[in-house]
Amino acid sequence: MSTTIPAPPAAAPPPPHRTRAVLAFARNAWRGLTSMRTALVLLFLLALASLPGALLPQRSLNAQLVDQYFADYPQLAPLLDKVGAFEVFATPWFAAIYLLLMISLVGCLTPRTVEYWRAMRQRPVATPRNLARMPHHAVDVVEGTPDQVLDRMDAQLKGWRRVRSADTISAEKGYLRETGNLVFHVSIVGLLIAMAVGKLFGYEGQVIVLANGSQFCNTSILGYDSFRPGLQVDGTELAPFCIQVNSFQADYLSNGQPEQYRAQLGYQTAAQVESGDAADWQDYELAVNHPLRIDGERVYLLNHGYAPRFTVTWPDGTQRTGEIQWQPVDLRTYLSQGATKFERPGIADPAERQRSSIAVTGLFAPTSSGGQVVTSTFPDLLAPEAAVDVMRGDLGLDDGRGQSIFSVDQSKVDSGELTRVARENMVPGQSITLDDGTQIRFDDVTQWVALQISHDPGQEAVLVFALLMLGGLALSLSIKRRRFWVRVTPEGEGRSRVELGGLARTDRAGYGEEFDRLRTTLTDLLEPTGSGAR
């Protein structure tokens, strides 16, 4: 970023007083905004504004923690919420800071790029009269006429941009520093634009699929359990690929720490689905750190769990089998809870159908501790057991209100419309018979996987700009813009007096070592006749 901005050309006719004042104000505001000092202050504001994003729980990351914060600090939390402290990176004030910073950056880059083009075509400056004033300076007396000496010097300064006159060479090097600098800053702007594209046109959705050959097709938002669209996404133009989860395996250490999760998938790309070639599933092993990439969509394995399968046989012989994911409540042992709900088939009267609905709720342990109170001791499916409450009555599924798939509607229990008719510990294969003869069988356990489908059209561009940033940064920090001057005067007897001067233009780190090296190689070559003073 530049500290000086070239003054804009003065308008030809002198404008009226007021216009001039407005212009002056605009000009000063622009200069103020694009000055390095402002940029520094904005950088600090940006750092400071991000801080609550790290210190306070954020809604986008963990809404439960935010709720917990509200419960812990009932006075403070609503105030913080008002200023957006729980969604820092979506607040207008955060956006204001980085937008101002971007404007400042562009305002700086534009004149600097113009200056850069000019400088790239400019010849090095004339040799200053007094080289002894330069930070680096040396004098040597060498063999050879001034012309010979300058010829050899010129050959040694290959790679430097140089101008030679009768008795001096003026050389300059390190133009790539500014190139790197500009590439870095332009890439920041590019990176932000690419990120914005991702935020506008990307989406992210989560869905749970049973790992028993069940399928998921990316056809509409309704297929997802949760969906976070970009601002320009309405869900009508999703790429309709399909996946089928064939199986899931988890490997554990003996202490229960997971070692590896893998899900065997089949998938069809959107093109395959559209061409109707439905039989053609491609295989893929989905694992953590190993997402499935289909064109622009990515499928990730987020979590897994268990879905116990129950079969209810009513006294009249009708049967229903239910299998739905139960929710892990302890991620160490995968003790899970849930509710598998059944509506009695073949009953015409809706009131009667409601009254005889059945829900199997309770806890599921993949490796049961055994005993009366079932708990889980290991996350793998070694000795599954479920501790269930069988509820009968009105589940409230027809109420038109949403309810959790992991539990029964507690208000129905409280009102007595839903009552517990059995409580039992069951292993697969066991059954319970209710008082009316209804039989409930615990058939088996299926695994489920939680998948995330992500789409971000900007991310390749983000990567490219990030790498450009890195390259530009490395160039601009490792290269020094420096000048080197040689002045040769005849000393008589075929000798010449060589005076060297050096100046690093960009920072105070200097280039003393390189100057000394240059001096040594140059004077070595010229067979010096005496070691000069510095």
Binding site: R37, E204, L253, Q257, A474, R508, A509
Partner: protein
């Protein structure tokens, strides 16, 4: 458990040995600082002449004719061969401190390597291993600084004690509070990006310690107080240059590490950037160090303010290393302290 308990035990022994050796290095370095004479106005030019003389020597030898021979006669004998008794004691302790540091770094490297062999994975899987590696990176950076000609000739070596002290604190913290048994890591960490991302983050974190310490000393030297203490510090300019030169190495490396983290996050968590607390604080550190580089090019900011910014940068990096890992819940909570 696929962990070799014997190797793990040897690794721990080496770690303890490393701490002892670093402690000795710090003591020797402290002796060097205490016994050194003030601010080296005499020693500095002498060494510069020595450098000039050695660079001129081969010239004289390869030079033809008698004129070159007479030039060689003019070169004074290198002052290294005429040791001054007052200086040499400090010098001797300083050299021993450096030798000990080299030994310590070798032991340290052995400790980390054995840890990796014991757990059969890259040895950067929990806070203990991470902190230990950060210390190693800082020590290696310090040796590299000393190895560069500029580092040796300007009295930088005697700053060692101010680096050994915080490193030792970190090492002891790592070996006690943060210690974790060698064990395999969770599936999310099983990726070659662990090697790239965590190693570069560790290296840059370790590197950032050096400019942070140099900036603190720079501010003390600049304030001139306490007078007796700061008199022995090298010139302000030297300290500032040390801070700048190490920062411009650490900062691009940190940038690279963050980009690698983003690439990994895209593969592991489904997005390349999600404002996870660790990511947020890394962003803050990045912005602060960017501000440092800008401040050095801005009139009125390039002296004390720039040094302050560098210190704030180090503070955010340390905050990210400890507080975010141990206190704030996030995706990066792999501290192994559960």
């Amino acid at each position: 458990m696929p962990v070799d308990p014997l190797l793990s035990q040897y690794s721990d022994l080496l770690f303890e040995g490393t701490v002892v050796v670093y402690l000795l290095a710090m003591v020797f370095s402290a002796v060097e600082y205490v016994t050194a004479r003030q601010s080296t106005p005499a020693a500095e030019p002498a060494e510069v002449v020595a450098v000039a003389a050695t660079s001129a020597e081969p010239v004289a030898v390869s030079g033809s004719a008698g004129s070159a021979g007479s030039a060689a006669d003019e070169i004074p004998p290198p002052p290294v061969r005429t040791p001054k008794p007052e200086r040499s004691r400090a010098d001797r302790f300083g050299r021993m401190a450096v030798s000990l540091t080299i030994l310590g770094v070798l032991l340290h490297l052995g400790s980390i390597a054995l840890r990796g062999l014991a757990a059969e994975r890259w040895p950067l899987g929990n806070m203990y291993e991470y902190t230990s590696a950060v210390c190693l990176a800082a020590m290696v950076a310090w040796l590299v600084v000393l190895q560069r000609g500029a580092g040796r000739s300007r009295g930088i070596r005697r700053l060692g004690v101010f680096l050994y002290a915080p490193i030792l604190v970190l090492m002891v913290l790592a070996g006690t509070v943060l210690y974790a048994q060698a064990a395999p890591v969770v599936p999310a960490l099983q990726s070659y990006w662990l090697v790239i991302h965590v190693t570069t983050i560790t290296l840059s974190t370790g590197l950032f310690i050096v400019p942070g310490v140099a900036s603190i000393l720079y501010l003390m030297k600049r304030s001139g107080r306490p007078a007796g203490f700061v008199a022995k510090l090298p010139a302000q300019e030297t300290l500032d240059r040390l801070a700048y030169r190490t920062t411009v190495v650490a900062f691009p490396m940190f940038t690279f590490a963050v980009i690698c983290g983003a690439i990994w996050a895209e593969a592991a968590w489904g997005r390349f950037w999600g404002w996870d607390p660790k990511e947020t604080v890394a962003f803050i550190s990045w912005v602060v160090y960017a501000a440092y580089l800008h401040a050095r090019a801005t009139a009125g900011w390039r002296h004390a303010p720039a040094a302050w910014i560098n210190i704030v940068g180090l503070a955010t990096v340390i905050f990210n290393l400890f507080f975010v890992n141990m206190v704030i819940a996030g995706l990066h909570s792999y501290a192994g302290l559960g």
